[in-house]
């Protein structure tokens, strides 16, 4: 995989992991914070609400105490008409704005007057507010009562009416509308926020809600007192607290219960919004980082291509490469290191060349030492051989008629030739001397060979296309041809045979083929025939063909052998 892609993937994974981790932690912290905040608000607000409602009712009881006080001359004075008394109550009603109505009853429970002027004269002697108040007590409903006349839930607060002499002669009743709680809940609207309140009677009836509650009744036994819980309420998961009292006071004069709750959905609406913005933010960061890493990656990686191209050039043998990286970082260091490589390679190559030269020199010196030695040896052998040869010829001349003498003289003669041949072969092998090139023809080479080599009568020599020109060391190539011809002559032996020497020209190379009708060379010998000291002949030195190979290779050519018929193929460049 390309580094660019690896880098991009790595960054995306890293960013994703970081985002998930941070997002998760932030979400958890925020959720906990919001929950704590909600719980605190639930606690405080429910207490506030309870205090406010309790205060409100206590104030109404206070009102009633004042109204029904025997010293309240207005209601006790029999000279004051019912209408005036109602008018008085109407001013109170207007002043406090929490009452639905006031009514006056006689001691039989018959309504004498009403601030709303409705249902005057009806008998309400059986109502609890009348029955308790006529006994001389201040009364209020423990739970709200649906007032048919007012068509709303009200709390009756009643007290006795006294005559001027202190006897109870009637009842005054106020109707406290539960709707009047609403302003309490609304005054602190900002604080309450999306908080919902249910005021519930002891039998579970919902007296008041500051929202539309679908429940008709609440089973209060299922909820723990004074404890913030997460429960299903009003068809939604809600954080909820149920209270009958505050830490300082209870719901005075009632068995009410307040349930304050916030639906989870609403509570975490904010954080859910936050969540989606975190998600969007993450996505943006991801895209930005992907783009950024592509840009940065390109910037970081662009020198790699330059370096790669440079190194490839060096690998191909271009030692003049200078890599230019316009950077000031590790790539620059790497580039300058690579730029030093060609010099090092050059030094190594030159060292290698020097070493090779030294090796060659050592080899040449050794060879030339051996060559010198051989030349001296040859001289020391051939000079006596020359005098033996001369002496032999003198003896032959002086005993021309002696048969035995002639036979033995011929034997000595042959032996001299053998020694001569052997010494020449060794000299050819060990003395690798520089080529002395001259322009000649293949025919010239052959003629030079035939001067020193006679073809026996039983062998026919066939020549073809020998007029080709060639630049070569005439003496050395003639040694090769002589050796090859001599091999052929020896192979054919005394039988009738034929040696064919031909030459063709191909792509400025001369191909000289020398074949003979002699027996084929065994396959296992074919591969070894050019090895030094390999010979199958009794008189062979094993140096003839290897000398030939050396000479041909010195000319930049090649020599090979094949059967059917036995053919030596010499390939020589025409102008090496």
């Amino acid at each position: 995989m390309k580094i660019q892609l690896q880098l991009t993937l790595f960054v995306i994974v890293a960013v994703l992991a970081a985002e998930i981790t941070i997002g998760y932690i932030a979400f958890e912290i925020m959720t906990a914070e919001i929950r704590r905040n909600i719980e605190l608000r639930l606690e405080n607000n429910s207490d506030t609400v309870i205090r406010s409602i309790t205060g409100l009712i206590k104030e109404r009881l206070g009102d009633m105490n004042l109204i029904s006080d025997p010293n309240n001359r207005i209601l006790a004075d029999h000279t004051i008409s019912i209408e005036d008394k109602i008018e008085y109550l109407r001013t109170i009603e207007k002043a406090y704005k929490v009452y639905s109505s006031f009514s006056l009853y006689d001691n039989n429970g018959i309504k004498l007057g009403d601030t709303r002027n409705i249902m005057i004269g009806i008998d309400e002697s059986e109502e609890p507010f009348f029955k308790e108040a006529i006994k001389g007590r201040i009364y209020h409903d423990k739970t709200s009562v649906y007032s048919k006349s007012l068509k709303q839930d009200v709390i009756h607060i009643s007290g006795p009416l006294f005559s001027e002499n202190g006897e109870i002669n009637g009842v005054v009743t106020s109707r406290f509308s539960l709707y009047k709680i609403n302003p309490i809940l609304n005054t602190n609207e900002a604080d309450f926020g999306n908080m919902k309140f249910d005021l519930i009677s002891s039998d579970g009836k919902i007296l008041f809600s500051n929202y539309i509650n679908n429940n008709k009744k609440v089973d209060l036994t299922t909820l723990p007192q004074d404890e913030i819980v997460l429960t299903t309420y009003d068809g939604a998961n809600s954080i909820l607290v149920m209270k009958k009292e505050t830490p300082y006071l209870d719901f005075t004069g009632s068995d009410w219960t307040l349930i304050a709750h916030v639906s989870e959905e609403q509570a975490f609406e904010e954080i859910n919004k936050l969540g989606s913005s975190i998600f969007i933010f993450s996505a943006i960061i991801m895209v930005v980082s992907a783009v950024l890493i592509r840009f940065i990656g390109k910037r970081i990686l662009s020198p790699i291509k330059i370096l790669h191209d440079g190194v490839t050039l060096i690998e191909q043998g271009n030692l003049d490469v200078k890599i230019q990286v316009k950077r000031n970082d590790e790539f620059k260091d790497l580039a300058s290191t690579i730029n030093r490589l060609p010099e090092i390679i050059r030094q190594l190559v030159s060292l290698e060349t020097q070493l090779q030269l030294a090796r060659d020199q050592v080899k040449n010196e050794r060879l030339s030492a051996i060559g010198g030695l051989s030349a001296r040896l040859a001289h020391d052998i051939k000079n006596p051989l020359a005098s033996i040869n001369n002496a032999l010829q003198i003896i032959k001349k002086s005993s021309a008629n002696n048969q035995i003498m002639n036979r033995e003289a011929d034997r000595i003669d042959r032996s001299i030739r053998r020694i001569e041949h052997q010494v020449d072969q060794v000299l050819n092998y060990v003395r690798i001397t520089p080529l002395v090139k001259q322009e000649t023809t293949v025919d010239n080479i052959l003629q030079l060979c035939l001067e020193n080599l006679s073809i026996p009568d039983n062998i026919e020599l066939e020549q073809a296309g020998l007029e080709n020109n060639i630049v070569c060391d005439l003496n050395k190539i003639s040694i090769v041809v002589s050796n090859t011809l001599l091999n052929a002559i020896q192979a054919i032996g005394s039988q009738k045979g034929k040696i064919t020497i031909s030459c063709t020209e191909k792509e400025s190379q001369l191909i000289i083929k020398i074949s003979n009708s002699g027996p084929e060379i065994p396959n296992e010998d074919l591969t070894r025939i050019f090895e030094p000291l390999f010979t199958t002949k009794m008189e062979g030195t094993g140096l003839g063909l290897v000398s030939c190979k050396n000479i041909i290779e010195q000319h930049g050519g090649s020599i090979s052998v094949s059967n059917k018929p036995v053919t030596f193929v010499i390939v020589l460049p025409q102008n090496p």
């Binding site: 040859a378 001289h379 006596p384 001369n390 001349k397």
Partner: protein, 121 residues
């Protein structure tokens, strides 16, 4: 017809004497030298038709003697003789400087006679 005069130069007295005998048997006048210096002096004195000069000789070697004789007589017919196949620069140089021929040891009498016939007029 006046018989031809041959100068043989060789430091090996056996080679020198036996070759001298063989060539005299063939009817040539043969004078000898055992080093290059002597060969040069002999050449100047007797002006032979053909010279057979060994390359490896004491005092003055065959090449140097060759050049000295050539300096004296640029038409001198000189054949260098040697115990081994010669293919070095010095030989090539001599060859370019009208060296007549080369003869490898051991000599064949027929070859020598053939060379004498070829190079002397």
């Amino acid at each position: 017809m006046k018989s031809k005069t041959i100068l043989l130069a060789d430091d090996d007295s056996d080679v020198l004497e036996s070759t001298q005998y063989l060539l005299m048997e063939e009817g040539f006048n043969v004078i000898t030298a055992t080093n290059g210096k002597q060969a040069t002096e002999q050449y100047k004195e007797f002006n032979p038709d053909v010279v057979f000069m060994d390359i490896k000789m004491p005092v003055l070697n065959g090449y140097d003697a060759f050049y000295q004789i050539k300096e004296f007589d640029k038409n001198a017919k000189i054949i260098l003789t040697s115990s081994y196949a010669i293919d070095d620069e010095q030989f090539q140089k001599a060859k370019n400087n009208t060296l007549s021929d080369l003869l490898n040891k051991p000599f064949k009498l027929q070859t020598m006679v053939h060379m004498i016939e070829k190079h002397s007029r």
